[in-house]
Every structure is written in structure tokens, then in C-alpha cells.
């Protein structure tokens, strides 16, 4: 009898179906047969684990260790164990818990503790799990074998003991079909020498003539079982060969050309086998485009957290909802457990904070001007709405400066009215009244911030989608009087800096994907479609409009759920549901792939720019048609008509154009090269 080779899993299983009646026991190789890896080389997991160990060591105060040195220690200890095994056994096998314990003892010295090994093992298995995918065709076949009462053994020559392998098989959803999992790491008897088959025969009292073995290695899964009279089928899958060759090519090219780093990461993120099922158009865009962008942003946050040793992150509502959800899934791969900061979702908004921020500092001109950034805000009523002020107590003061309720005071609408308005701002009585009215909201805000532990850490990262950092500016003003206020590290998805941010020593903002201060030509294409990103990330709950004191403490006031804004938002949410699903499905795969490759944002930026330019500056017409949001509500702006001159000067950008314009040749190139970006 000689072993048979098959070039596709389908043909192998068809043959196995035909002979299954003649077998009582089926043993199957685990890696590259039952499970496939997204990576072409299994050793790619090891550097990620070494980086994790370096992070753990840093957290324990051992300083910044080089991960390559840690990798060298692991390799040396593993090689020593294999050499030692070879003196007693035919196979040169190693056992992960043994050599890893020894390696960690060398690295951590007197700080070594048993839980470190547990943490490292958990991390390595989590990464392995993320890189492994069960081949879809096995599920049906194994179910059939189980129904027929066959004994199914999973056998592997690997350094992970069977207890660890069981976790991998379980995560792949195959454990219920399997009688036992056997690893060469437990006994140092491997398939490579054929000793594993002897062990199985003895342990389970197997009859070789009624035993079928399936694997991918012609020697250990073909020749060795065949020599013992076991029926053997060897899988040399063409499809897999093709997939792995591609993954390897991207890996090789990315070493020479930084452009391919991001593309390689996306290759490792790709869903395979049963994961890759038919999806709606928006899901695919969410996964392949928005997912990568959000991953890049998450990587940027991780880097800031590590650099500054920050222990708390606050995600601003409502776009922060999506960022936090993404973070929660991706960050466990990118940060060691001991370094992972606490993450919170903070219920804030421009509208809610604008009023509360005036309680101590009043309303300086720079801040009051923010109310008139939207050209639809025209008069003093709009100003009061933005800063949550009651207009009645101001009427006497307004009269003093010749301002009426309906007089345009926005500089966009009337310069004369604006001059009167700025004179009013200088009035002490006016400032006193502003502070008086803002105080209750500020007190409620302080209580809310205390309840989420905002003042417990010396440094906090504040995450928001963008664009000018207004929420952070208002938040800083609201807590500026407190001595225990933390240092603010604001990270924006993109910073347009439409108005200059008053950066201070303890308060800064930085755009991660795009920052206007850094003059990124390609990155600036993001400004074409800001609303698109806002809508893609927006939380499916109403916006916060204020904070109110109550007897028990405070209450966060949300916008009513039944108004026109809410209806439009819920329709938009329904439209973007598959897009968001795609984004969140990409989160853990991004985290795992980024951990494996160890890339920083600087490595991923060329591909990010390519993605931005190709999708935002050079989109296909049908992409604009599908991806562009249907509704976008801005509760900061009023209901007045903007002056004609302003409307004329407001430039239309590519994504604002009707679809027929997008069909013109070279229209994209024209916008990309010649039109200034909106701010």
C-alpha cells in the first residue's frame, strides 16, 4: 500500500468518504490540514511574543529590553531543549511551557513569577488563534465521522502541549468532533520518526489496518504511517499554495518597499474559508477601507499611550463610541495586559460643554467667535443656544449696546452688529451673568467627571474624530480652575485646525490620520468627506445637550429621541449598519496582524495615504453613490440662511458634486491637484 496525494481538500475528502467505512480511527494532522494559517511562516508569531515580553519587562521596571535579544534567548533555550531531547529520543522535540519558563527566568531574573508565564502563554495562544482558520470543508466531514461513531484524533508535531492545542482546536470550533488531541511536546515522540503512531497504537489499542491518517507532510504524514500499515492520505493543496505564495511575496516586498507594509497587514487581515462569505457592499468597504483607517488610528493611540505611559483613555461621544469599540477589540493584541490603560466613554458634545465651560473663565472673544463659525448662526439667539444661555437676563445689557434679539451679530452677516457684540463681551456685567448661568451645568459636569475617575490620573488621552478640537478646548476650560486636572493629550482622527488650537503645556491636540500642521498632501484628501467619517463612527444614541444638577448629583441631558434630527439619524444608522459591522469585524484582525508585523504608524502611512487617495480623491462613481452618507445633522448650526456671498465662497468638493459630474474625465485629478482642501 502507498499513500495517496491529493491536490485539493475536496478531492481528499471525497476519497476519504469512500473509504471511511473501512476505518475505525481517523487521525488528522492539525496545522495546514485541519487549520490553516493566515501567515505563510508560523515563526512570524514569535517576534510578536518577544515584543509582548519586552512590554511586560518594561512594566515590571526592567527597562526597555530589545525584543530581538528576547527572541534570541527564547531560540537558544528552545534549541538547547531540542538538543537535550535528541540525546534521549529519536525526535528533536521541544515543550513550550518548559523552555518558555526557562527563557522567562533568564529574562526576568528575580522578578520572575508564575503568572508571567501564564500571561505570555495566553498572549501567544491568542495570537495563534487569531492567525488560524478552520478549513470549512472539515466541519461537515467530521460531523459525518462522528455520527458514524469513528474515533477522531488530532495529531501534531509541535512545541505546544496537547492542553494548549486543545484551546486552539476549541477556538476553531472543532473540539466537539474530536476524541483527543495529541502533541509531540507531551512525550517527545513525533510523527516525523513514526514513534507517535506507535504511541497512539499502544495508548488506544488501534488496529493499523482500520486506521486512516490525513496530513500534509509526505514524510511524517505519508511514508511513516504507511510503513506501519496505516492508510495515509496526503494533502498538497494548490489553493493554499497560491494563497501562501502571495502572502510571502507581500512579506518579501514589504522588506524593501515601505509602501507594501500596510498592504501586507491587510493581507493578514483578510477573512478566509467560512469567514469570507457574501456580504453587502458597505460591509466590504467598512472592513477593507474604514477598518484599516480605524486600525491606523488605534495604532496611533497605542503609540501615544506607550510613549507617555498614560493609564487612562477617554473616548468622546459620539464618534468615540466606534473608536472605543474598535480599541477594545484591537488593543489587547497591541499592548501587554499590565500596560493596557483603562478606557472610558465620555458623554460630551460641543453643545453640552460650550455652556458648562464658561462658569469660571467667562466668554472671551476667541471662544464666543466659535458660535459664529457655522454661517447659519446669525443673531444673539443663536449665540445663546450654542452656549446654553437664557436670553432674558441679557436683554437689558443688549439694549445698552444697541443689540436686539434679531439683529445679526455674526461677522459673516453684519460687521456692524459684530462690533456691538464684541463691545458687549467686554462688559463685566455680561461676563458675570454668563458665569452665573453656566455654573449649575459646570457643577453637574464636575460631578460627572469625578464619577468616571477623570481626575484620578495625571495624564489622560482624549480621543475624538476631529476636526478643530473644540470639545477638548471647552472641556479644558470647564476644568481649568481645578488643581487636580490631568494633562490633556488630545488625539484626533484628523485635525483640520480650522481655527488655531490654543495649545498649552498641559493641553495639546494631534491629528493621527491627518494633521494640517504637518502638511500631508495625500492625507488632506480626508477633508473632502469629513461628514462621511463622522457618520460612519457615530454612536447610535442621541447626542448630549447638557448637564443638569439633581438632588442626587447630576443628570446627563440627551437630545429627545423623537425630533427630526433623531429620525434622520436613525435612518442613517440603518443605512450604515453593514458598514459599521464591517469596521468592527476588522478590529481584532487588525490588532492581531499589527501585533504580528510589529509595524508602527510611520510604517503604515504610505499605504494609508494610498487608500485615502484612491478612495477619497479618486473614488469610483458607484463608490461615492454607495458610501456617501444619506443624512448628516449638525446641531451646532442654526436655521438662518447663510449670505449669498458666503454660499458662493463655500467651495463644493468632489464628494459634494452630483454623480454626473463625477463621470467627467480628469475631474478627480483636477480636484486633487488644484483645489484647496476645506478646513
Amino acid at each position: 500500500m502507498s499513500f495517496k496525494t491529493f491536490y485539493s481538500l475536496r478531492s481528499l475528502l471525497k476519497h476519504a468518504d469512500a473509504i471511511i467505512e473501512r476505518c475505525d480511527t481517523i487521525s488528522i494532522d492539525l496545522f495546514d490540514t485541519l487549520l490553516i494559517r493566515r501567515i505563510h511562516d508560523p515563526d512570524m508569531v514569535k517576534p510578536a511574543v518577544a515584543r509582548f515580553i519586552a512590554m511586560e519587562a518594561a512594566a515590571l521596571g526592567l527597562g526597555e529590553l530589545n525584543w530581538e535579544d528576547i527572541q534570541r534567548v527564547r531560540d537558544t533555550v528552545e534549541a538547547e531543549q531540542r538538543a537535550d531531547t535528541a540525546t534521549r529520543f529519536e525526535d528533536h522535540e521541544a515543550c513550550y511551557p518548559v523552555f518558555m519558563q526557562r527563557a522567562l527566568s533568564i529574562i526576568f531574573k528575580e522578578k520572575m513569577a508564575p503568572e508571567i508565564l501564564d500571561r505570555v502563554t495566553d498572549y501567544e495562544l491568542r495570537l495563534e488563534n487569531a492567525m488560524l482558520v478552520a478549513r470549512a470543508a472539515w466541519f461537515d466531514w467530521l460531523g459525518k465521522a462522528k455520527d458514524l461513531g469513528k474515533r477522531v484524533l488530532v495529531v501534531s508535531d509541535v512545541y505546544l502541549p496537547s492542553s494548549h492545542l486543545k484551546r486552539l482546536v476549541e477556538a476553531a470550533g472543532l473540539l466537539e468532533y474530536v476524541t483527543d488531541v495529541v502533541s509531540s511536546a507531551d512525550t517527545f515522540l513525533a510523527k516525523a520518526s513514526g514513534k507517535a503512531y506507535e504511541l497512539l497504537k499502544e495508548r488506544y489499542g488501534l488496529d493499523c489496518s482500520r486506521w486512516l491518517h490525513i496530513g500534509d507532510n509526505p514524510i511524517s504524514d505519508g511514508l511513516r504511517p504507511e510503513a506501519m500499515g496505516i492508510r495515509a492520505l496526503v494533502l498538497k493543496d494548490r489553493q493554499e499554495k497560491y494563497r501562501k505564495t502571495l502572502a510571502k511575496l507581500y512579506c518579501v516586498f514589504s522588506k524593501y518597499r515601505p509602501y507594501w507594509h500596510g498592504r501586507l497587514l491587510q493581507q493578514l487581515m483578510l477573512p478566509l474559508e467560512a469567514e469570507n462569505r457574501s456580504r453587502p457592499y458597505l460591509y466590504v468597504e467598512g472592513y477593507n477601507f474604514f477598518g484599516f483607517l480605524m486600525g491606523f488610528f488605534t495604532q496611533g493611540i497605542v503609540e501615544r499611550v506607550r510613549e507617555a505611559g498614560i493609564r487612562k483613555i477617554f473616548f468622546f461621544s459620539r464618534e468615540g463610541w466606534a473608536f472605543k469599540k474598535f480599541w477594545d477589540q484591537a488593543a489587547p493584541y497591541l499592548l501587554a495586559g499590565t500596560l493596557a490603560p483603562e478606557s472610558h466613554y465620555l458623554c460630551v458634545s460641543r453643545l453640552a460643554l460650550a455652556g458648562a465651560s464658561c462658569a469660571y473663565g467667562g466668554l472671551p472673544k476667541e471662544k464666543a467667535d466659535i458660535a459664529f463659525l457655522p454661517p447659519k448662526n446669525r443673531d444673539f439667539r443663536d449665540f445663546c443656544r450654542v452656549f446654553s444661555l437664557d436670553i432674558i437676563p441679557f436683554l437689558g445689557l443688549m439694549d445698552r449696546y444697541g443689540i436686539t434679539e434679531t439683529l445679526p451679530v455674526s461677522p459673516v452677516h453684519s460687521m456692524e452688529g459684530y462690533v456691538r457684540f464684541t463691545n458687549l463681551l467686554r462688559d463685566e456685567d455680561f461676563q458675570y451673568e454668563v458665569k452665573r448661568q453656566s455654573r449649575p451645568a459646570n457643577d453637574a459636569l464636575q460631578l460627572y467627571l469625578e464619577s468616571v475617575g477623570f481626575f484620578d490620573a495625571p495624564d489622560v488621552v482624549l480621543v475624538d474624530v476631529g476636526w478643530m478640537g473644540t470639545i477638548q478646548r471647552f472641556l479644558y476650560d470647564a476644568v481649568a480652575h481645578r488643581e487636580d486636572k490631568p494633562r490633556f493629550h488630545g488625539l484626533l482622527f484628523a485635525a483640520s485646525r480650522g481655527i488655531p488650537y490654543p495649545a498649552r503645556e498641559d493641553d495639546s491636540i494631534k491629528g493621527v490620520v491627518y494633521d494640517r500642521a504637518e502638511n500631508d498632501f495625500a492625507g488632506s484628501t480626508m477633508m473632502y468627506a469629513r461628514d462621511l467619517f463622522e457618520e460612519a463612527c457615530r454612536a447610535p444614541h442621541p447626542s448630549v445637550v447638557g448637564y443638569a444638577p439633581t438632588r442626587k448629583g447630576f443628570r446627563i441631558v440627551f437630545r429627545r429621541k423623537a425630533d427630526a434630527y433623531a429620525n434622520a439619524e436613525s435612518r442613517q444608522d440603518a443605512y450604515y449598519f453593514p458598514l459599521r459591522e464591517g469596521i468592527f469585524d476588522a478590529a481584532s484582525r487588525f490588532g492581531a496582524a499589527a501585533a504580528i508585523l510589529g509595524y508602527r504608524t510611520v510604517d503604515l502611512r504610505p499605504w494609508l495615504y494610498h487608500q485615502l487617495v484612491s478612495k477619497i480623491a479618486f473614488p469610483k462613481t458607484r463608490e461615492v453613490k454607495a458610501i456617501k452618507h444619506r443624512y448628516h445633522m449638525d446641531d451646532f448650526g442654526g436655521i438662518h440662511k447663510a449670505p449669498k456671498a458666503v454660499l458662493k465662497s463655500q467651495q463644493k468638493h468632489l464628494w459634494d458634486q452630483p454623480l454626473w459630474v463625477l463621470r467627467w474625465p480628469l475631474v478627480r485629478l483636477k480636484y486633487y491637484l488644484h483645489k484647496p482642501r476645506p478646513v
Binding site: Y7, K236, R238, Q239, K241, Y242, R243, T245, L246, L249, Y250, F253, Y256, R257, P258, Y259, W260, R263, Q266, Q267, L270, P271, L272, N276, R277, S278, R279, P280, Y281, L282, Y283, V284, E285, Y287, N288, F289, F521, A522, G582, R605, P606, W607, Y609, H610, Q611, V613, S614, K615, F618, R622, E623, K625, A626, L669, Y672, L673
Partner: protein, 96 residues
Amino acid sequence: MAPFETDRFVTSKRYDVTGCDIFRVTKHFFISKLGPYDNFAGGPGRKCLVVLLLMHVFGRVISWSLIESEHRVIRVASAIQNRLNRIRLRLARKGP
């Protein structure tokens, strides 16, 4: 049915990223030659692009036709490689 309503796969049959495939990369490579354009840290590189384009498009056929004689192909390829290396060494020793 409008094109945006149709169902798609995240991973294409060519193991490419749907919506940002190798053809789109190639298109932008050519656009970048037309005028001032971000060079994306050196860009994809002509050789890399050609190899990847060929692999994505014809890789399936290549792996289909070669896998059964893979060991022979590798043997022949490594023999050619060795011979080329030897020639290169000899030329290097001779000098210009």
C-alpha cells in the same frame, strides 16, 4: 439591482483586497507618473508591481499546473540559480 446593493466578498478569488485590488494600485502607479502626486514613500516599485500583478492574475493557473511537479521545478530552479551564482562569482573574480 444597483451595483452598490450587490453582495461581495471581502477577500476576492485572487486573494486580493476587494475595493483596493492590485489593478487599482497599478492605476495609481500610472497616475503618479502623470504629474505631481504623492510618492507614498517610494511607491510600489515597478518590479514588485509586475510580479504581484502576475501572481494575482495568473498565480492560480501557475500553482495549478506546477504543484504536481513542484519538487522537480524547485530542483531545476535551484540548479539554474547555482549555475548563475557560479558564473557571477567567476566574473567577479576576473574583474572588469
